[in-house]
Assembly symmetry: C2
Homo-oligomer: 309 residues x 2
């Protein structure tokens, strides 16, 4: 038996045929052209899934279901998607529309949640019971798996961990609030921190680089650059307190860190782990593992292909 | 069939015989004398449970189990209690010791979690699926019920919501960290806020009261006292952001507020509800009800008596 995972991204619709070992055995992709009416996007999504099935001579009876991961608030019960700020879908009946093209059971999930599910089933969360993932990228995405099940809340708007308040009255966040985790722990936040006092740190290798991104700052810290180390310390102090809050709140087996900042690997994780322990209330009983996410670009397809489990 | 709930408090051991409608039909209590060796406390706990059974002529076969709610970190799987900062129990085999006196199945829970469970089964959380309780008292206690089950994390140290960071580098908390929710939302925090600038607000009715407690401040706000209203606004601003963070994180059906501050009832809840909505990321999909806890002093016994469900 197979499942099919659909990763509806802002740029591409990527689909994959996934086997029982949760490996992508065949894949296809087509541009999203996200500005189009959503009916057109769904039509293309249906067409590419059918092509995946037909090209590989798969009998539909051998496909358990199709899982779709998409941005926005996905309501798997109602079969709808809402509040995708990029594509402006509101209560759009994504399942019913998609099933006009593909006559298979369909499960829905938000893209960040789907990535967490992938990491849980096949990545660094494998074998754990309670699992939290944070994606430290342009924003801070969140995903929660509890007792082995994706947790999205009572109205499908949970796991928006990036918008929990970390520093009340603090940095302005893209969402309009002040002090969100995202405003301190995203790659964007790290870049902003670096740019803020860059004029006063012209000796730093960060000031000499053509473009400042998260990697510029992390490389500078790694190279022993004073300004880079200062920024990195501040960032990891903040991140560690956020992770300690997650431990105090949900005490998971594993917290996975993904996204651009997490590419720093152990250079990031080691100091963060030590600092987290200092902030956990019952620190001597603390056992959460803080690990780098492993699934990379395939997380969208594989997670979607597990949504029905 | 009955269950028995044991509420091990710092002052009293309260026990109750609870029927299938989750009503306390008989109750007894005895002083804890918490300074004693824990073996003695457990012996008294066993004695009073046996007395409850014998006095009422109950056949042990009609008792499904005994649930014990106690301070500290309770490990229901291992049958132990750790890290009770008041009574200094570390990995104490509470279940095995108790069963030397009472030969019945025993379930264990932390007291704050047990109170949340009581509120979930018989109070304002009744009928909900995902439920969070905050007790706004001397500290801020937390309890989480997800998919109808008490959630305590992978190492039994979760649901310590009071020690999630709300304002990094902010007010010092009793736990040693800075900026915990407890340092902004407990009754203690409200009192500290009031005392801080009291010298500059000698006209306020708060300055004229013999002793400042949470009620003094809330009454002043209710009476239109300028300083009282300012403090109350600040407190509710903070609390609302905390609750919005909980919504963004777990999106429960209900958040119950208990403890001294919550006694202010609708005067507190109404402004808080409005402010929460402003801070929730997907505010138009927000559906969490914010309610006053109803179970009062019986929560400890009733929640404990439900631990085996």
């Amino acid at each position: 038996m197979y499942t099919i995972g659909v990763d509806l991204g802002g740029t591409n619709i990527a689909v994959g045929l996934v086997n029982e070992n949760r490996e992508i055995v065949k894949r296809l992709s087509t541009p999203t052209n996200a500005e189009r009416p959503y009916d057109e996007i769904i039509a293309d999504m249906g067409a590419i899934v059918n092509k995946l099935i037909d090209d590989n001579g798969i009998d539909k009876k051998d496909i358990k279901y199709v899982g779709i991961g998409a941005p926005g608030v996905l309501d798997n019960e109602a079969g709808t998607v809402s509040d995708n700020s990029n594509i402006h879908w509101i209560n759009y009946p994504i399942r019913a529309k998609f099933q006009q093209y593909v006559d298979l059971p369909v499960f829905l999930g938000n893209d960040a949640n789907v990535a967490a599910l992938a990491e849980y089933v096949g990545g660094c969360g494998k074998g754990s019971k309670n699992f939290v993932m944070l994606t430290l990228g342009t924003g801070v995405g969140g995903g929660i798996v509890l007792n082995g099940k994706l947790y999205t809340g009572s109205h499908n708007i949970g796991a928006e961990i990036g918008h929990a308040i970390f520093k009340a009255d603090g940095n302005k966040c893209g969402c309009g609030n002040h002090g969100c985790i995202e405003a301190y722990c995203s790659a964007t936040a790290l870049i902003k921190m670096a740019l803020k006092d860059l004029d006063e740190n012209t000796d730093s290798q960060i000031a000499k680089s053509e473009k400042v991104n998260a990697r510029t700052v992390i490389d500078a810290a790694r190279d022993g650059d004073e300004y880079g180390m200062k920024l990195f310390k501040e960032y990891t102090d903040n991140l560690a307190q956020v992770l300690a809050s997650i431990v105090n709140f949900l005490d998971p087996d594993v917290i996975a860190l993904g996204g651009g900042v997490a590419n720093a690997g152990e250079f990031l994780l080691e100091p963060v782990r030590n600092k987290v322990q200092q902030h956990v209330t019952f620190s001597h009983l603390y056992g959460t593992k803080i690990l780098k996410a492993q699934m990379g670009n395939d997380a969208g397809i594989i997670g979607a292909a597990c949504l029905g489990e």
